[in-house]
Symmetry: C2
DNA sequence: CTGAAAGCGCTAACAC
DNA sequence: GTGTTAGCGCTTTCAG
């Protein structure tokens, strides 16, 4: 017959120390109103039996779980996993646990079960760290979403009355294209990401706008659509070369696709940057070691994540501080930076 | 004065439906002993008020949380994040939540706080998805670890009485080197990962053993140490060229370092594979688009993760099935596969 | 089939 | 300083 041991409870500690459970509670919560002697005695027992207060029971009564629900998607991409990493460490530092949920697809529309699960777990806040794709944000202003739980979104179009933290993709794209213009390139093509992604649209728009502003062409034959993969970059480049033979440089929607471009360029004996200059987006670790090293736009997903966590915790705290002033929803936009490497340096065509 | 709204409780549902809380409980747990009429009436109220049973209260009483603690590290690496992705989806499918904790460094030795936090949260099991580095497994057989919680480890040296799920790095390495031998290469160097990593040691060992078995040299001057980064691969390659000039091929400990090798090779006008053949390890998505495409060893981290989750859930269930037979600790080892691309195809040196 | 009572592990609000 | 009483939201006896 197996003896039921289980973990020590506050009651056991109390009786072992000869005090009431209330006193033990005071000790573990570091309340001042316990005498030194009692405190030490209780603390000793606690260490001795390895007592850990039940977070469950505590959350149940205190109505706070110190837990954040975090929704991600595409953890096999560099961006999302880096973001998650930032969220996890920021939450940890703030004393919050992370209840993770990964969406099986980017454009999951039925988010009710997820929210409900989080409600059921009494999370104090939710971070929606999924990029905006297709209709996957349709629900944000739904009546269904009249949740009492603070919610912060990552990487979506800024919107009134919502807490959103995002990288400025449009600005990044402008920086990339402006750099090519400065370097003297005049026939600047674009390989975009899938246009149901908000980020892909922003990046394409930046390209169009900068070219328009300096009086260069950005028409239909000057760009092609990819799907973020290296393969689509390779295919896209071949197509672009056909429809835009004067092409002297490309702003590519992400680094993976740029890698595909590099491969085709090698096959066709096109030199980078002498024949075709290249700028990517994302600054994945490998991009510094492409042949040639890739000029790209660096996004600091880590800071982004930290800001999101700080934002949501601020909101949570404000609810509990009884400060009648509800924390207003904030839109925070982080600027990316340009990293210049060899793939875009101006070289005279021999 | 702020009205306390809060979420609906079982009590409210009960009184709204004119039944006792027990009956509501029976309905949400889909117990058979409720009449059709009552069931429907209760269910309607539930949907109407949007009632969700509290997972906290349930776990507290049922002593099961249907939650898995998952420990990772280095989510900015491809491997760990892919593994986490697999764990998240497998857990989801099995109806378990994931409480995530990311270690700030690989060789965290003081794991007590982590375990204690998980105990406090009543997790049903823990998946330790951190690679074995340095002394970071010292605690596994500690008395401190006399936790009642099932624990499954990923990616560490198989060990009796522990549940371990891992890729066979040694085998993968053997496959890589054997492939080079088959292709006719005879001066096969190695760039290893940091040797405090178990995986790096395994990969190096496979290289040594295969070479020894076929009567080729694998001495001190035939390998150098890297740290997984592309930069270290580049540096390592330069050093290796000096100390091992006859070098005709390299088995590199991971794909990132192989990328560094490729960069240096281009600078030195060494052709791959004509002058130097290359095999990597990991099969990161980019490796198919390196110049040239990289032959490498593919590890299926996703299946690995799935197996770990299945393993731990089996153990958890076995505890609750009162089946006096404790589930024995299992060591599962998954074979990787060789992916042949251009970087290792035998070409006659012109 | 349904309800009443007890209690999971803990803390808030009061007594003493 | 410390103990008592009540109860967080739910489920498990055990009556009816």
């Amino acid at each position: 017959m197996r003896q039921k041991v289980g973990r020590p409870t506050i009651k056991e500690v109390a009786s072992a120390a000869g005090v009431s459970t209330q006193t033990v509670s005071r000790v573990i919560n570091e309340r001042p109103d316990v005498s030194q002697g009692t405190r030490k005695r209780v603390q000793d027992i606690i260490n001795q039996v390895g007592y850990r207060p039940s977070a469950l029971a505590r959350s149940l009564i205190s109505r706070r779980s110190y837990t954040l629900g975090v929704v991600t998607a595409g953890l096999d991409y560099v961006g999302p996993s880096k973001t998650l990493s930032g969220i996890a460490s920021a939450a940890e530092n703030a004393g919050y646990s992370v209840l993770l949920k990964e969406l099986s697809s980017f454009d999951t529309r039925d988010i009710a079960p997820i929210i409900q699960a989080y409600v059921s777990h009494h999370v104090d806040g939710i971070i929606w760290a999924v990029p905006e794709v297709g209709e996957n944000r349709k629900w944000v202003n739904n009546p269904l979403m009249d949740i009492e739980i603070p919610l912060v979104y990552l990487t979506m179009e800024p919107q009134k009355d919502l807490s959103i933290v995002t990288i400025d993709n449009y600005l990044g794209s402008r920086m990339a294209v402006a750099h090519l213009v400065e370097q003297g390139y005049r026939n600047i093509g674009h390989i975009s990401g899938p246009l149901d992604w908000w980020e892909a649209r922003q990046r394409k728009l930046g390209w169009q706008d900068v070219l328009a502003e300096v009086g260069l062409e950005a028409g239909e034959r000057h760009w092609v659509k990819g799907n973020w993969s290296s393969e689509s970059g390779a295919l896209g480049f071949e197509k672009l070369l056909e429809q835009y033979p004067e092409l002297d440089s490309i702003f590519v929607g992400n680094d993976q696709m740029a890698l595909g471009v590099i491969q085709i360029a090698q096959q066709k004996r096109l030199r980078i940057p002498e024949d075709i200059a290249l700028v990517g987006f994302d600054d994945i670790p490998e991009s510094a070691y492409f042949c040639p090293p890739l000029t790209t736009i660096h996004q600091d997903q880590y800071s982004l994540a930290k800001m999101a966590v700080e934002e949501i915790i601020k909101t949570i705290e404000s609810i509990w501080d009884e400060s009648e002033v509800e924390e207003p929803a904030n839109n925070l936009t982080l600027p990316p930076t340009l990293v210049v490497r060899q793939s875009s340096r101006r070289c005279e065509k021999k």
